[in-house]
């Protein structure tokens, strides 16, 4: 909060991307490390981004008919063992409550790493007949997965997310829901975060523990690595059989439901930072920026300047723009640096000569373009520029992603491709050995399959006939 800490340096984005990331998230006060290893504190500037994400996504969920609910944090350990793959996947990273209220518990309780088990238990109780289906619920909550390393927003033991859980009468309907929610995420990422996404099915190795099929969305970061930004799982009858989610069908037979689950987390904030940032710091998409326009009055000692700046602020705020005025006792240049670092999409400068000429100077964060605008119709003008920033950011990151998507037909090609910081599309025979080989040789993983893109004849790794086309990349 002390203003002095803003002036310090950020590591070189090209030479040390990891340090650049850490510098940016800490210095812009998005986040801080919590007292317990592996935890983070989301500070107001970071949390405001999350609130904007939540508001936008929540409306999209509700449009599909999903409703919010809240399920308990603590899950009996025995629940995890009911679905064999699920326990194998999650047991190693669970945090366990063994004592409470001054006594040892009869059964240890897990802090939810994800809630299929507890929500499945409740669904089994609530669902009786085909008339009760589909059931579509979502919860916004904290989850915990014990991690050895800490990277704010990317990898922490506790994080915030939403998890949607649905039950359907037929496989067809459940698969449709899985794909629909994947599309909700994809369009949200593009329209709101200005991040283009590759979506597709995950390989068996990379899928969610307990799913029949996992569909992921992968975003290209500025350092050429991929970030999994969200997943939508088709769970088939795996969980409905494990938790006895049955319904009486029209034909008077008891049948197991088909379930799905889908989630995105505060990781999305990491994606925004690494998809759009630059040497000066954050570049925030206007739709999620906590402050969309920062007003910096120039020559504040001159009478009427601060008043005019405040007047401009109130005009913008009335028009629905998140605008603030920086009237602190610091130089304009210092303020420019700080708000550039904090990624505010539009800066509006106003001084005595501007006031005389009934104008203001606008500087775009994405292009640094300077635009002199009239104070008449100012709100319309700022709104138009914010829209331009938003769409330009998508164009830019799409160009980056496309330029860094290449094809390869050999393991060498995959290796040099990912070393060159690319998404590499290649044929794959479908066997685990080849997938492991890519990991071993190129430190890259199969991000998603993109068969609709045209499956090559041969597997790039073993040369046998290919069954899929896969996007390989190094990933967060």
């Amino acid at each position: 909060m002390d203003s002095k800490q803003f002036v310090t340096q950020i590591a070189d984005i090209n030479e040390n991307f990891a340090q650049w990331y850490t510098d940016v998230v800490l210095k812009t006060e998005l986040v801080d490390y919590g007292p317990v290893k592996g935890t983070m504190v989301i500070r107001p500037y970071g949390y405001a981004i999350w609130e904007n994400i939540q508001k936008d996504l929540d409306a999209r969920f509700k449009q599909t008919g999903a409703k919010n609910a809240y399920f308990p944090l603590l899950i009996p350990m025995s629940y995890f063992t009911k679905e064999a793959e699920h326990v194998e996947g999650f047991a190693p990273e669970v945090a366990v409550v063994t004592h409470a209220g001054g006594a040892k518990l009869e059964e240890p309780l897990a802090i939810r790493p994800t809630s299929e088990t507890v929500i499945g238990t409740m669904y089994a109780k609530w669902i009786q007949s085909y008339r009760d289906l589909p059931v579509m619920m979502n919860q916004w909550c904290n989850v915990m997965r014990w991690e050895k390393t800490t990277r704010p927003f990317l990898r922490t033991s506790e994080f915030l997310w939403q998890e949607g859980h649905t039950v359907h009468a037929s496989e067809e309907e459940a698969v449709e829901e899985t794909m629909k929610m994947l599309e909700v995420y994809r369009s949200f990422a593009e329209e709101t975060l200005a991040i283009p996404i590759y979506t597709g099915r995950k390989t068996e190795k990379e899928k969610f523990a307990g799913a029949v099929a996992t569909f992921g969305m992968e975003a290209m970061m500025l350092d050429g690595k991929s970030l999994q930004a969200g997943t939508s799982h088709y769970l088939g009858q795996n969980f409905s059989k494990a938790f006895n989610i049955k319904y009486l069908d029209k034909d008077s037979n008891q049948k197991f439901g088909y379930t799905t689950s889908w989630g995105v987390s505060t990781r999305l904030i990491g994606a925004i930072i690494m998809a759009h940032g630059d040497q000066r710091g954050l570049v925030l998409p206007p739709k999620v920026a906590p402050i969309q326009t920062i007003i910096v009055p120039i020559a504040t000692h001159k009478s009427g300047v601060i008043e005019k700046a405040k007047e401009v602020e109130s005009i913008l705020v009335k028009a629905g723009i998140r605008a603030e005025t920086d009237i602190r006792d610091m130089s304009p240049g210092w303020k420019f640096n700080e708000w550039e670092m904090k990624g505010v999409p539009v800066r509006l400068e106003i001084g005595p000569r501007d006031i005389e000429n009934n104008q203001a100077v606008i500087v775009r964060r994405d292009t640094f373009e300077k635009i002199t605008v009239s104070l008449d119709n100012l709100a319309e003008c700022v709104n138009a520029i914010l829209e331009q920033v938003q769409s330009n950011m998508l164009v830019k990151s799409k160009a980056h992603r496309d330029a860094r998507t290449i094809e390869a037909d050999s393991l060498d090609g995959i290796l040099s491709g990912v070393e060159g910081k690319n998404f590499v599309k290649a044929g794959w025979c479908g066997c685990r050995e080849c997938e492991d080989k890519v990991k071993e040789v190129a430190q890259a993983t199969a991000r998603v399959m993109c068969d609709e893109d045209g499956v090559p004849e041969k597997c790039a790794i073993c040369g046998k006939p290919a069954k899929h086309k896969v996007i390989f990349a190094r990933a967060y």
Copy 2:
């Protein structure tokens, strides 16, 4: 979810209020019991009320300058011991994580029962100078306090709440913040929940563990018991000294800050139920009702009826009213019962004859008054009725509260007063013995002090000179 379960009976509200409450929260699908003892699941209909509460309160908090943030769930056990009263108050009801990631932890971690300790630790790191003050943050989160009994919304091991935490340079400013947030809660309860509140300082016995002074808000429930609906704590320098929250003042001296904290929880939903309900079930204040107007088409087999109902719905929804149409294949009478039980403030019936006459019939949930309205200007009309319901509910609960607020000047008077289901105002000498005596004899506690009401000459319990006027009541 199966429609059949709605038809069942609710216990008599006058004969067995506790069972009435349980029946209502379960049958209206606000809530269900979770698999772990002491936990609840907040179902969509209940969670939608919480979302409306959050939206309204959050805007009020932000108007005071508070910003949202998120702090870790897990707190090192050693943190609690830093403030002596605090550990004594909370240690017995803490849930403890001892194992994580497959290994035993070096230090056991508490699941937050409240976050003064972890937030204080971060504030100490962030605050350097007087320029950083005041700091005002709030978080919406889950907390856990191990409980032996379970009463959905009223007493569960895990619940949802918000906790605001502020730091100020002076005692005066911190006390002002404490009182300001109490007033935010009081006005919110009256304006939005239609619940009149007595506010005041708590006695030493009843205050928050670690506070200098706790101010509470007490609401009268229909059974004559009091419900503590929120608290605002002035913490003085207790936590700033324990956690080293210091700032460099203008005079170049290091000084400890003065802190406050304030919170309300999903208990508020319990307050709504018990302040407004009746034999038919819930009566929800329009401002927080998930559905404000339920449209029930009559004689749906007649052509055009469902279409007209849907048209009415879209007119209301466009006007910002939360309206839904019940087109299920059940009789109108069955639907009336169900939506009355679910507390929807306004029911709108529309059938062939209504359509012919360009009208609809509106029935208010609070008074059962029937009003025939024209379909012209329908939205304005419904909005006006919703406002009337909202204000009438406050008038009604205020009348109930006032009629049940009496004075007493003896222990007998207090006993017969609380047995008669009243708030009892009485003089108190200020000593713990007299307070304990009231508890022992009348099973009532000091809810808040109301000295501004005029302190009586004598303590109603011991007859010595009174120092305070206290509201005694039996309480949840």
